[in-house]
Structures are given as structure tokens and as C-alpha cells.
Assembly symmetry: C2
Homo-oligomer: 336 residues x 2
Amino acid sequence: MAGKRLTLADVARAAGVSKMTASRALRDAGDVSRESVEKVQRAAREIGYIGNPIAMSLSSQRTNLVGVVVPSASNIVFAEVLAGITEALSDSGFQPVIGVTDYDLDREAETIRSMLSWRPAGLIVTGLDQPEAARRLLEHAGLPVVQIMDTDGTPTDGCVGIAQTDAGAAMGRALLEQGRRRIGYIGCDLAGDTRATKRWLGFEAALAEAGVPLAGTLVADRSSSIAAGRQLTAEFLSQHTNIDCIYYSNDDIAVGGLFHCLHAGIPVPEEILLTGFNGLDLVEALPVPIATTITPRHEIGFKAAELILAAAERRSTRVDTRIELPTRIEMAAGFH
Amino acid sequence: MAGKRLTLADVARAAGVSKMTASRALRDAGDVSRESVEKVQRAAREIGYIGNPIAMSLSSQRTNLVGVVVPSASNIVFAEVLAGITEALSDSGFQPVIGVTDYDLDREAETIRSMLSWRPAGLIVTGLDQPEAARRLLEHAGLPVVQIMDTDGTPTDGCVGIAQTDAGAAMGRALLEQGRRRIGYIGCDLAGDTRATKRWLGFEAALAEAGVPLAGTLVADRSSSIAAGRQLTAEFLSQHTNIDCIYYSNDDIAVGGLFHCLHAGIPVPEEILLTGFNGLDLVEALPVPIATTITPRHEIGFKAAELILAAAERRSTRVDTRIELPTRIEMAAGFH
DNA sequence: ATGAAAGCGCTAACAT
DNA sequence: ATGTTAGCGCTTTCAT
């Protein structure tokens, strides 16, 4: 059991070549005879050699790591983004390393710093609006950085996301087109989520442009959840009358709102049209239709990882690419 | 910009001490005068030194990494387990490194192998029933391993979880106690999820013991989701009559079932009692009550990480601890 | 095509 | 309490 771990020297000895030849053979690093390659790879397999990425990284001054910083792991949206990243990275030899900030701005800089200390091949970070300290870290990182989810602003290096303000505005116009006029807004955790704030501002501006003021606003400093949506909706409707539409900061809260309406016997969407954001699977399965903006979560992750991969391949320290993905409004999402 | 990265030698020079003293001072490794510690830490801060964990790890032959292997990242259950792990690890100096297998048994061994190559301080792996190859890797890992979620079986080293078979049986008895007799079972993805299979077997055994056969069974080879639950329930109810209760392999599928019933106008829970597993927040917010078994997801992650930490602290290669956490049945979960 | 020497940035072990 | 000497396991560079 245990015993000392096998090293490259063991493989070299078993194959009857030098460490260098073994190293090259295992990496397909050219300039090795077919013969040697086979000998070495067979020897490695036979003795059960597993390379040591730590030593590899220290020696080569580069890692096969891609750092990913997201605000939440339990939010299905980021889980889907991560799935996209993982898919793009699979079979590339690169590994994602995930850091979670829990929407804590101080922890964000700390997390980024800690990722950078591993000198990853690239970094994927959520959002365009890091506080000063974090932004400085990204600027001086000296490696490819992709900021994701949002394209409203100036990225440090590259970005992949959607136009958040426009998305909010588009939904505002769409709701007006449906004839809704007594429109409320309910949001959670806006301090930590600048994307939601942008949508809200875009939404409000679109209504204002049509001369329709928001009929009411309820923003809670708590984290977004279905339960929060349910409670906030109950509170909101007890304070405002004749509301015919509510725009929520995301789908979770909107579904909570729907649960309140179902429980209270309020006809959805006839009396009140509920509107979320993201187009989660949950929403598509709802027994009653609500509106939402469908976002390409998986694709955002996939493309971001592709950009890092491409930069790593050409040994560049920059991505320098800006990708704005389209969104789509669905007025009656749900299974009906 | 960029330029060469600062190393320990730079700190030592700036502080006017040797590399060794600087190293010890930065790590609080004893045997350094208060004076030197301060000088070094100030120098490090001033020049903006960030340590290189790769070099540290290679030299010390140990890392601050804890490997975590889960079947799915987008499943909220594992996201909550990860949150527990992250919380236990925060401020410990250890970092989780996450690997996702997507319920693919081949990928599991590969993922474990890849985690092990980094020589983490410990490994947290989902489930007790790895296929042979993966199990061998764990046995020969030579580091603390904690298998999570399940305690029905023999762990390689330590485990933290719940008694899955018992949990299924307990729910079976509870439903009988409610007077339900025409009970169906609907499950998804049971090949990849041995825990769900154990619950099912326990459940069926409990019914059999009372002389009540399952009124029907529908198991789909697709991944678990709300949409799947909705479709499978529709299918199931079209095939079986007089069903008064359905046990689902988890909460997601049960919620899908509820959505079908709400849409079809079937009174829940009066006519049919729906039963999930986990006690997700989603379930607690539902407008109509369903039954579920509440599981300590967060705590499982937290305790597993604590075990790794404790083993690392005493420089042990084993955890050798088995923790079985209690579950609780709630017959009318939801907000009503 | 192969190998020898040097070193990546740090810490363990052993001085002093 | 501080410093010196050797590596950790690999790759880079430079010979051959």
C-alpha cells in the first residue's frame, strides 16, 4: 500500500530511456521516435504512473486550470453556466476551478486573488462592475479574463453576456404592448446583483418613455428565492390595488409570486401577468403561464471557456473579444 | 505592468532577512522574532507579494486542496452540500476543488483520478457504491476519503450521510398510517443514482410488510427534473386508476407531479397525496402541501469537510468515522 | 532523436 | 532565532 509515489524517473527506468524522453513521449511533445513513444506509454501504463500536475506547473510556469468566480453555487443559473464551461473544457486538458463569493463584494476580491495565485490559464468572472480592488486585480492579472453575464459596460479584457439594460427595456415595451398599465416591480438582493439593477432601470425607462409610471416598487435586501417571491408578492398586493402586471428581478421570485396567486385564488395571467427573467426549466413546467426573458446561460459559459482556450492556445495574455448574445421574450412560458 | 512575478526572495530582500525567515514569518511557523514577523509581513504587503501555492505544494508535499466529486452541479441538492463544504472550509486555509461526473460512472473514476493527481488533503465523494475501478482508486488513495449522502454500506474510509433504505421504509409506513393504500412509485435516472434505488427498495419492502403491494411503478431512464415529473405523472395516471398516493424518487419530480395535478384539476392532497424526498426550499413554498423527507444536505457537506480538516490537522491518512444523520418526515410541506 | 544540466519557488532538515 | 543546503518532480534550454 501507499509506498512512494511513482515519478517520471520510474517510468524512464522501466522504459529504458532518459527522463527527458519519457517526459516528451508522455506529452506528445514531438521529436521522439514512434518507438520510444510506445515504449514509454506502455511502461507508464504498466507501472500505473500518474503525472504530478504540481511539478509540471511549477516547471513549465503554466497550469491547466481555468478559474471561475461566480456569486452563488446554489443558484441554478450559475450552475448552468458552469455546466457550459465544463462542457467546453472537457477533453481540452483544462480543468475549471470554482470560487463562490455569495454576493459578498469583499470576498470577491479575495477569491479572485486566491485564484490568481494558482496562475490559471485564464479567469472567468461574473459581471462587469467589480469594485475597485477586484477590478485592479483583473487588470493586472496578466492572463486572459472573461467577464460574463453582462455586456453593458467596458470589460477589463473580454466579455460574454447579454445586454441587461436592453433586456429590461424590451420586457417593459412588451408588457405595454399587452395592454398592461398598472405595473409593479419586485426585486431581491439588488446591491449584490448589478445585472438585475440594470434590467430594472431599463424596464422603468421603457415605461417612462411611454408615459407609464411604475405603479409600485418593492425591493428587499434579502437573497432571491421562491419563498421570498411569495412573501414579497403578498406584501406588495396588500399595499397596491388594481395591479395588472408585476416584473420580478428573476424567475425564482416570479414563481414565488405565482405560488402566492395560486394560493390566494388570483387568476394568472388574466388578472395579473407575472414576469420573471431567465427562462428556467422550472418556469417551462409551470401549470399556469408566466412571462419571462429567455437567456442563454449554458452558451454564455461555453463561449467564455472557448475564449480562454483560444487565448491559451495562442499563448496570449488577452482575450480582447466581446460577445453579446441575444435574448428572447416569451409571454406565456409554462406548459399549458 | 506584468513584469516578473514577485517571489519570496523579493520579500526577503525588502525585509532584510533570509528567504527562510521570510518564509517562516509569512506562515507563522514559529521560531521567528516578533520583530522579524512584522518586518516581513509589512514588506510583503508593501511590495504586493502573493505566495505561489504551486511551489509551496511541491516543496512541502502537501496541498491546501480538498477534492469534491459530485454527480451533478445543477442539482440544487449538491449545490447545498457544496455550500456546506465551502462554509466548513472557509477560514481554514483549505480550498475545495469540484469535479462533476454527470452521473456517468466512467467519468467518475476519471474524475477521481484527476483529483488525486493533485494530491489533495482529502477527498469527498458522493455515494457508497462506486464501481470497482473507482473504489480501488479510493482505497489506494493514501489520503482521507469521506463518502457522502449514504450510510447504507461499507465506506472505504469515512462516511457522512443518511440511511437511505430506512428513509424509504419510514415514508412507506407513514403513508400507510395516513390510510393510503393505492400507492404508486415514479422515479428517474435510477441507474446513476443508487441512493434513490435504495429508498425505493426500502419503501416497497415496508409496504409489502403490511401486505400492500405497489399499485404501479413508472421508472424512466432520463434525468430527474420538474418537467420529467410532470410528464411521467400524466402518463402514470393515465395507466392506473384510483391511485391515492405517489412516492417520487425526489422533490423535483414530485413538484412536476403536483404541477400536473394542478393543471388537470386533481385535488392535492385530498385525492392524491404526493411525496417527494429532500425537503427543498421549493417544496416549502408550494401553494399546496405535499409530503417529503427532510434531509440535512448542508450539514452533510459541513461535517464531511470537518472530518477532512480534522484528519489533515493530525496528519492522518484516514478519517475512519461514520456519521449517520437523522431525517424527518413532513406530511404537509408547503406554505398553506 | 536523445540526453545532461539547470532551475521553477518554495520548504524540510540540518546547521549555527 | 536565523541561515544554509538540498531537494520536491517536472520541463526548459542547450548540447550532442
